[in-house]
Subunit: 323 residues, 2 copies
């Protein structure tokens, strides 16, 4: 058994050996560009952890991990084009450096490479691994489309449950599938695979609620982002959508007005509405609810509880919980 930190180090060592061909340079420089921006490599580590929950680490988990990390970066590359984002992690995005066509194509070639890695896993579970991956990959695309569809609607027109569904698809199913793929490599049975998948999905949703909460109410110095960044761009978040459900008619009017204007104190005024309708308290509870669901899922997995410790640690770390 290895700690989260040890697994990240092991994976990075493996992942950094993978190189794209040198030619055509425009194509592969664009693909390398997004990978060189770094990242926490959470998803591949979930593959390794899913494997180690049930068995010794198998080289196939590194292949599956490489596949999900390439896929995740492919989605970032194409999402940045769709969002017309000039920057990612403070650096120019691939399409601004290499042009949109090269960036579309670089994403495509990365997605094909995903399957080069999945194709290396043992024939005994190859079909199952590709199938679990494909379902998640398709759902990520569906989630992205739903997100774009929601963006064109008024916040009031988006149902909270639809939003949870969208966020689940866009951000959580790949975490869940990463764990499940690892567990398949580790030899887990169907029931254990499903509990682990559910754990990953619920942790993902709790994390996203926390992310929205911290953007609004977090300490900007600690969080490393501008406070209220989501509010400034009228981003649909758990908080904004739920606020429309929770607030009274006067607050609702105020919120609508704030969304169509940009006063200097927009962030503070929106935060005042959020606080008065107690959507901050609601978010804390909702995050806790999904966290609890996740830990219940983990409890259901039929392995010695000592083996679950790294996953508990990771969830507590991601969800900023004190033990």
């Amino acid at each position: 058994m290895h700690s989260f930190k040890e697994l990240i180090a092991q994976f990075n060592q493996y992942f950094d050996q993978q190189k794209f061909p040198e030619q055509p340079a425009t194509l592969y420089n664009s693909a390398s560009h997004i990978l060189n921006m770094g990242g926490k490599r959470i998803r591949p580590v979930l593959c390794l952890m899913g494997n180690e929950l049930f068995n010794e680490l198998n080289p196939d988990a590194f292949e599956a991990g490489t596949a999900v990390e390439l896929f995740h970066n492919f989605t970032l590359l194409h999402d940045d084009i769709m969002d017309k984002a000039p920057l990612r992690r403070g650096k120019p995005t691939a399409h601004t450096v290499y042009g949109e066509s090269a960036a579309i194509l670089a994403g495509d070639v990365m997605l094909i490479n995903v399957y080069e890695h999945l194709n290396k896993v043992n024939a005994g579970y190859k079909q199952k691994i590709i199938s679990v991956f494909n379902r998640a990959a398709i759902e990520v695309c569906e989630g992205q489309q739903m997100d774009m569809d929601f963006e064109s609607l008024d916040p009031e027109a988006v149902q909270y449950d639809d939003y949870v569904n969208m966020i689940g698809l866009k951000t959580s199913v790949l975490l869940a599938a990463s764990l499940q793929m690892g567990s398949i490599i580790g030899g887990a049975g169907d029931g254990n695979q499903q509990h682990l998948y559910a754990f990953g999905k619920n942790v993902g949703i709790a994390f996203q609620i926390q992310d929205d909460y911290l953007d609004a109410f977090g300490d900007p110095e600690k969080f490393g982002k501008q406070q209220g960044g989501d509010i400034l761009v009228n981003k649909k978040t758990f908080l904004l959508l739920k606020a429309f459900e929770l607030c009274n008619p006067a607050e609702k009017e105020q919120l609508k007005k704030l969304l169509t204007s940009s006063p200097d104190d927009k962030v503070n005024k929106v935060l005042d509405v959020f606080s008065s309708c107690k959507v901050d308290k609601w978010a804390e509870k909702e995050k806790e609810r999904f966290t609890q669901l996740a830990f219940n899922n983990l409890d259901e997995i039929a392995v010695l509880s000592a083996r679950k410790e790294p996953l508990k640690e990771l969830a507590n770390f991601l969800l900023e919980r004190q033990q």
Copy 2:
């Protein structure tokens, strides 16, 4: 054994049963849009023919055929975005109808679906099938990038051999891989697979030379396209690149001038240079050279020659040869 026409009918019946989910509508309508434009479905029929060259038709060849047809349409969808093409087959392209973001994402979800079909083939040759497909798919992307890179260069700066290589990657390797995938499903050995692959690649290049030739010198009524369409948009073709090699300094100057201007009689003037430097005769010979290479490859395949008849017929049909 089935004829080309019978195999097309069988494939279409199978392919048309495949439906995308209904939601999210923007995503899947955009994917269906390109498929509904039709097409000759040559590539999947090559899968079926590659299979039948060695054995009875296997349902796996329909899965592999569906995969290559989806992949081909995915490339058209993304290429149209890169080329900013408003029309395909006289109809508005997917990105003009559904927006660029939905079209990028629809291509992505189609590419993932490719692997859903490849994942259905027998475990005994799944790894090999995915591996052959992936190599071709990566090469198609590389060819597309090389094509875009060449577009920004002067025609004189593009070497003929590099252009043949690019065209091979962009248009021929998928034909070749379709045949090879079918042959794997039919149980062919490595040697026969390679000969069949080479046959497909050489037919593809001969076809592309013919396509360039007909665009310039073909009968517009028979060809169904405007004569000299490539010339009008200064498209790099076999003819233009070779003309720069074959023509004398005066002709070269004239060609350069014509490329930077658009006189009313541009097409005729370029055709005059093509004729005087005999690039038309060269193209006929070059097409014949690749065709001969292809038929030599077919001869090398160790099966009864009667089994090769449908492939010969298809090649003669595609290359407009009288038997």
